[in-house]
Subunit: 346 residues, 2 copies
DNA sequence: TTGATATATCGAAGCGCTTCTATAAATTTC
DNA sequence: GAAATTTATAGAAGCGCTTCGATATATCAA
């Protein structure tokens, strides 16, 4: 490139430090045997000359890219509430510590093998992959077949490594909180139940309600399986919930968007929150802090999840070459806890 | 990597096609002279063997990385409303066409040279850089000094290539719309005026009001220079606006977040929108569609801007090696138009 | 004391490409 | 129709690094 000053190479460092290429390389990578004295001299030359290793040369010689891929659905990335974006950010942050670059790839919801294959997969330009959220099974299978190690986030597939939210317990805690406030008719508001996170939240709700008085009958479970959990869906189901035969006094929502949609409708109907209707959300997205009333919700530590995913993947990548055990056999399915954030809506 | 099947190399393709390495390379890159017949044979071998060039080998040999860096402030990426995120997405999308990978780097607001230098810059791991939004001047200077071509988005610096929004005209259009609705007391709600986008919107407002009756005196300009344009700031300035000596009947806000904050306060004060107060925002973020009332605003084509930025940068990168003219001299400062979206709030 | 093992350094091969140079045939120019 | 030019292909150098022996010395166990 005409614009860049010539870059300092390992050769120049070696010359300056009066060492061999391999010695410098070893110092840089912290491998092999180098005496303390020599190491100091080399390090000094590196600093003096401002040497920075070339990623591509390194990559070519070592057969690892030092890239990791982060794949999510377009619709998840573009979502108005940056849930997965924050997870990405957490991963990106941690990648600096682990010396990886994160390449983002978005895939369509109706992923088809071949045509939609992300470039980073096709070109095998990553050492490992993080897949965030529920994605098309075809993608999962393609990544699986590629042999590239991967970690799932907020989703599970077979027993591959994953980071998931402790949805069940979080839901139990939230619903118990509602029951503790004296509510007996607590409804559940959900959407696409095929997403494990949502079905687990429903399970938690059911578990908590099982011992309630009166026990939950399913009458107050409102789900629209064909919709994603958006504000829109929340609004529409709100119509059903608040005009149904048995109107609940509290609603536990599968996520904040749904909760916000419900609140929007309730306020239009002049239903007071939390006096007439208590609402609890899930995720703790930004918008909940600014809604009227402010949303009581379950906080999910998104950045931390991303960080964890990258750490786990990095670990996997370190291990794979050493052991020959198939990595998916190990107990690498982590669950992260949540926190109930009580604000105004319940 | 132990997990990956051996990759097909150019050598194998050459052998299969009975051609030399250079011929295959030329076919792949569309350079030099290759007869049609030979090209067909090579292409066929490539397909048959499933050959995909190694990015790192390519990069090493050609001295270009095929990466482009996308730098923005952490606070801009994490913003609840994904303005810059969508621009990033647009760039990411276009990068597939141009055969680049986009490496994202976030930098702190109080960027300091050296400590905060993004890895992609330090390691010179990109051919070009996109800088989105207002960033610290230190970063700008560091990128400038690096000699790596760059394009600014929604910001300008000297006369370097940039993609900016047509803020002035958009503001004029919005304010004229308000005036056309019969409003005479139209206020401006802004924040950090040092951001050119915001000051230009103010200028547009002032231009439009100049010919209004009565002409604008500055009395209705509400800005808090020390705040970023968030919901919070909008709420706080809302207090001033609606309790001031001269209460406006319409407000043109420098962005949607401010508008939404203002609306939140107004509704708490039982001020009806748009009957008592008309509000117009700017940006057209997701949240505006779901607010009550739905926000009238100026739409900014975010994805398109990202796309344009990447295209422009790619062009620059193609040109630089050919011509010797300094690229920042050329007329590469693009302005993209907007569109007034009339919904309920005005 | 003597193998065996750990420590230290170096040289060279080679990762998979691009690109320069060489060579030759085909085509154009006047 | 000889010289210049364009088209076509191959060979080889080399991009900047990692890593595999090779070699040599120092340390250890018996």
């Amino acid at each position: 490139m005409s614009h860049s000053k010539k870059r300092v190479t390992i050769k120049e460092v070696a010359a300056d430090a009066n060492a061999s290429l391999s010695t410098v390389s070893m110092v840089v990578n912290g491998k092999g045997y180098v005496s303390d004295s020599k190491r100091k001299i080399v390090l000094n030359s590196i600093r003096k000359l401002g040497y920075v290793p070339s990623a591509s040369a390194r990559s070519l010689a070592s057969n690892r890219t030092n890239n990791i891929g982060f794949i999510l659905r377009e619709s998840h990335f573009t979502l108005s509430e940056p849930f997965y974006t924050r997870i990405f950010l957490g991963a990106e942050f941690e990648s600096k510590n682990q010396n990886y670059y994160v390449l983002l790839a978005t895939v369509p919801d109706d992923y088809k093998r071949g045509t939609d294959t992300p470039r980073l997969l096709k070109e095998r330009n990553v050492d490992g992959i993080i897949i965030a959220g529920k994605v098309n099974i075809n993608l999962l299978r393609e990544v699986e077949d590629s042999g590239i190690p991967f970690v799932l986030v907020d989703y599970q597939y077979k027993s591959y490594p994953s980071i998931t939210i402790d949805n069940r317990n979080a839901a139990i805690e939230a619903v118990r909180y509602l029951i503790g406030k004296g509510h007996t008719d607590v409804a559940f508001l959900g959407a696409d139940i095929s997403h494990p996170s949502i079905s687990e939240r429903l399970e938690g709700y059911q578990l908590a309600m099982m011992h309630a008085d009166p026990p939950e009958t399913g009458e107050l479970v409102f789900i629209d399986e064909h919709q994603s959990p958006t504000l829109q869906t929340g609004y529409e189901l709100g119509v059903k919930i608040l005009n149904g035969a048995k109107r609940p006094t509290a609603v536990f929502c599968a996520n904040d968007a749904l909760a916000l949609g419900l609140i929007k409708y309730a306020r239009e109907k002049k239903i007071r929150i939390p006096e007439d209707l208590a609402v609890v959300g899930f995720d703790d997205v930004e918008g909940g802090k600014f809604s009227t009333p402010q949303l009581t919700t379950v906080r999910v530590f998104k950045e931390q999840i991303g960080e964890l995913a990258l750490k786990l993947l990095a670990e996997l990548l370190d291990d794979v070459p050493k052991s020959n055990t198939r990595y998916e056999r190990s107990n690498h399915m982590l669950t992260v806890p949540t926190e109930l954030i009580v604000r105004e809506s319940a």
